[in-house]
């Protein structure tokens, strides 16, 4: 979906070096990224981004059935922006590659300023073609079994409105349609089986071949009477798999002198389960479609995060206008309403097992140079 901005002016040239780490739920993921953005003749801007995720470990629903996974995801993207009068055009291409997953995405959007540049209307289209595989070997000697393709199309529209000299608000809507292989090959269902000493047996997931979802998001940002900003976002999501979700986020941004910017945020998310999800099916083949992906289970999570930005070289140095260094830490608590870790299953009854929950810490540090 588009990020609606206030006016048809290209942002400053910048270069970013980024490091991230995610730790939680049995997974360690580190990420490194480089981004360069450059304007040409005040009308064109080109942005290139390279991102590498290194994953080790696996989430509980995979760990219980497979060896520990080590993998890298490399993502390359290139985007071109062009401004003509009050219209901004953006075209981008992204390639993301893992050993067992290849994704190619093309995105086009345009935004138009109107009503004295108080209103910006945006439209966008995104198409992704994905190739999905399963690693039947090991992390060191992979044997990839390519299982199928999926095709995703996203249509979005947004409006951003200056309400007062202190308040800006935005509304965005998007529809995404998917078709093809949409399952996760590393996960499986379990069903009640009194003949098995464990009380249950495992089976393959069966997903629908299509999915259509829509999301509407409203956001507002308010400049407080002193120099600080308060932001609020609400999103409602629904899809043809029966998932309904609500997301609420609040941010508070407080500069300290002209050097430091402190930002605190709180995010709350809740979702209902997909119609074909079950933690434990009553018998094999109980439904046409069956999933035990915990992402499709009923769940809630909340995030408390903080961000500290330090501005250096405020008066510029050689070709640079200024630089910033940022530290961002988030703590996320995930709680599931109908998903349990099968390692916790006692005897033949899943009811005895506690609902799964875990905490994750997300750490980001990055350096940005503006020129």
């Amino acid at each position: 979906m588009l990020r609606v901005t206030g006016a048809a002016v290209l942002p400053d040239d910048r270069a970013d070096v980024f490091y991230s780490s995610y730790n939680g739920g049995g997974m360690d993921i580190t990420g490194e990224s480089v981004l360069v953005r450059k304007k040409f003749a005040e009308q064109f801007a080109v942005e290139a981004n390279y991102f590498v995720d290194t994953v080790s470990g696996a989430s509980v629903d995979v760990l219980s059935n497979a060896s520990v996974i080590k993998d890298k995801r490399k993502q390359k993207s290139l985007s071109v922006e062009y401004i003509h009068d009050k219209t901004t055009y953006n075209l981008s291409y992204t390639n993301s590659t893992e050993r067992d997953y290849i994704s190619n995405t093309t995105h086009f959007s345009l935004s138009q300023d109107m009503f004295g540049e108080l209103t910006t209307v945006s439209l966008g289209f995104t198409r992704s073609r994905n190739q999905v595989g399963e690693n039947d070997g090991t992390s060191f000697a992979p044997i990839i079994d390519w299982l199928g393709h999926s095709d995703s199309r996203s249509y979005d529209a947004g409006v951003s409105q200056v309400i007062t000299r202190n308040l800006i608000a935005g509304l965005t809507f998007d529809v995404i349609t998917d078709q093809g292989y949409l399952s996760n090959p590393y996960r499986f269902i379990i069903y009640f089986d009194p003949t098995n000493p464990r009380g249950f047996s495992e089976g393959d997931q069966v997903y629908p071949n299509t999915r259509t979802s829509s999301a509407v998001e409203a956001r507002a940002k308010y400049y407080l009477p002193y120099r600080a900003a308060l932001g609020a976002t609400y999103r409602y999501f629904s899809d043809t798999w029966g998932i309904r979700a609500n997301t609420t986020e609040l941010t508070y941004t407080q500069p300290v002198s002209n050097v430091w910017i402190l930002e605190g945020r709180f995010r709350y998310y809740s979702q209902g389960h997909a119609t074909f999800y079950s933690d434990l099916f009553p018998f094999a083949g109980a439904q046409n479609f069956e999933s035990r992906d915990k992402e499709l289970a009923a769940s809630k999570n909340n995030t408390v995060g903080g961000k500290l930005t330090y501005t250096f070289l405020p008066d510029g140095w050689k070709m640079f206008k200024r630089g910033t260094a940022t530290l961002d830490i988030s703590r996320i608590q995930f709680k599931y309403g109908d998903f349990r870790d099968i390692k916790d299953f006692a005897g033949t009854s899943e009811v005895d097992a506690p609902l799964y929950r875990f905490n994750a810490t997300v750490f980001q540090i990055y350096l940005s140079m503006y020129f």
Binding site: S33, T126, V162, R165, Y186, S214, E295, S299
Partner: protein, 75 residues
Amino acid sequence: MSIRRRSMLIAVSLALGACGNLQPWVKPYERDRLADPIMSWDRDAVSAAYLDHVYESREGSRGGTGTAGGGCGCN
């Protein structure tokens, strides 16, 4: 023309007329606060896209963010 259609025509004409006379109620010189970096939706695109990806990989919902495709990297 029925009274109802005539009323609608008048209402639409008034609405369009109002748009035609619409003046920016926040003048360009009054937008200094809105232009402050603390008022931008996302000051740092890489960080925002990364956090969107963290959530999209672990939640059943998607959309409403700037994440443009890509794999999960999260098995």
